[in-house]
Symmetry: C2
Subunit: 247 residues, 2 copies
């Protein structure tokens, strides 16, 4: 699979010292950068590459030397782990404001692939960590975001270990509803699912057939409506919530 990396904006050098590409960033307020003052942001930008990658490309692979940390500016990324025989578990769908690449060892703990075209900020891990001393708020923010990610992982363990297929899909639709609500200004009952049925299955610990069947059931029960395979309309939100939480 080929990787299309290209700069979509040059670094701060050679531009007026009071402006940089970050000032206009659409994910600025939802990312770790939100805690930085403008001049601090410019300093962080000095160690940052801004890259674009086409849909369906590998950004990094499990085990690779974890050189970079990535902020998602635009688009959707999946992170996943695999067993030796190819079974895959998607451990997260990431949207603008999210980051990935934090590792507890020298290698990445998961692979990251683009689902849509994406724009990323890429910063060398070591250099970023050194900035924590200079900007303590940044380190605290990364800790906060990691805590939120851990919390999400724990909820997902509950889903994978104890929920039925129907409950899993209802949970998923509601989770994605919150995520897309954050990025776009779409009506609240409208959910955007850029990932394939195969991705959803590997996220929920199911097969594509089971995911497809459960979608059909939810539609027949008039809890949701499918505009197409990528756009879902929520018809009975409260009922979805009840099913997803085992009530």
């Amino acid at each position: 699979m080929m990787k299309a990396v290209q700069t979509y904006a040059v670094d701060g050098e050679g531009r007026g010292k009071n402006h940089c590409v970050c000032d206009m960033c659409i994910s600025r307020l939802s990312s770790m950068c939100s805690v930085l003052k403008p001049n601090e942001l410019h300093k962080l930008n000095e160690i940052t590459d801004h890259i674009s990658i086409d849909a369906k490309n590998i950004v990094c692979e499990e085990g690779d030397n974890a050189e970079f940390l990535y902020n998602i500016v635009d688009g959707c990324v999946r992170i996943s782990k695999m067993l030796a025989d190819g079974r895959r578990q998607i451990i997260g769908f990431l949207v603008p404001g999210d980051f990935f690449g934090l590792s507890s060892s020298n290698g990445y703990g998961y692979s990251a692939e683009t689902i849509t075209d994406v724009q990323l900020c890429r910063m060398p891990r070591e250099k970023l960590f050194k900035k924590f001393a200079e900007f303590p708020a940044l380190g605290n923010k990364v800790l906060d975001m990691t805590k939120i990610e851990l919390h999400g992982a724990q909820n997902h363990m509950l889903l994978l270990g104890r929920k039925m297929a129907k409950e899993k899909l209802c949970s998923f639709i509601l989770t994605m509803s919150e995520k897309t609500g954050q990025i776009d200004n779409m009506p609240e009952d409208q959910v955007y699912l850029p990932m394939s049925r195969s991705d959803i299955a590997d996220y929920l610990g199911l097969t594509i057939e089971t995911v497809s069947r459960q979608f059909t059931i939810l539609v027949k029960d008039k809890l949701i409506a499918l505009e197409d395979n990528i756009h879902v309309r929520i018809l009975e939100k409260e009922r979805l919530r009840q099913i997803s939480s085992g009530e």
Copy 2:
């Protein structure tokens, strides 16, 4: 369920300023305290209560106001989440050096219960976070430990979503083997499992019957031997590893 809380050592006050209970702590080097110098450690101890709790008691419940963070000094704690109808997912077994109580919101994200008798250090969350400014290494250490916890959670998502019962149990035995290896000086092939079959089942996303059956199969295949229900001897470590990773 009653909670037995009692102080097993008094605070630093009223003792020689160059000594405190932490100096002798058996989990000192494996906990977040490991990054603190002796005098820093004494300052952290000023905001810390040292408590003992008997086996099978609740320490905190999901949704409770997350006032405290707990370090485990001795014993084993399980943390878990529940669905409305009582289905339970254990999201971790914690041993000395581990901490719990970090929350991404005001309430705890999970319940914590003691499996064995335990000794805990309890510190007010707010006061601890203020120490991060004074001791940056402490904040960095908490981030490091949270990263490790997240990494473990991601591995467990792979287990819950994609592994078969046999693979789950092999993974579990190996994971517990590493954990008990860290705390005790037992022979490497000896694994200590203080939790019940019910706990193991709720950790692996199975039923107690399936866990029991898989234990029986592993014994018949001579991959492990059961001394009693709590002590397991690993006979074929490499084979266990292969099974657990889907080879």
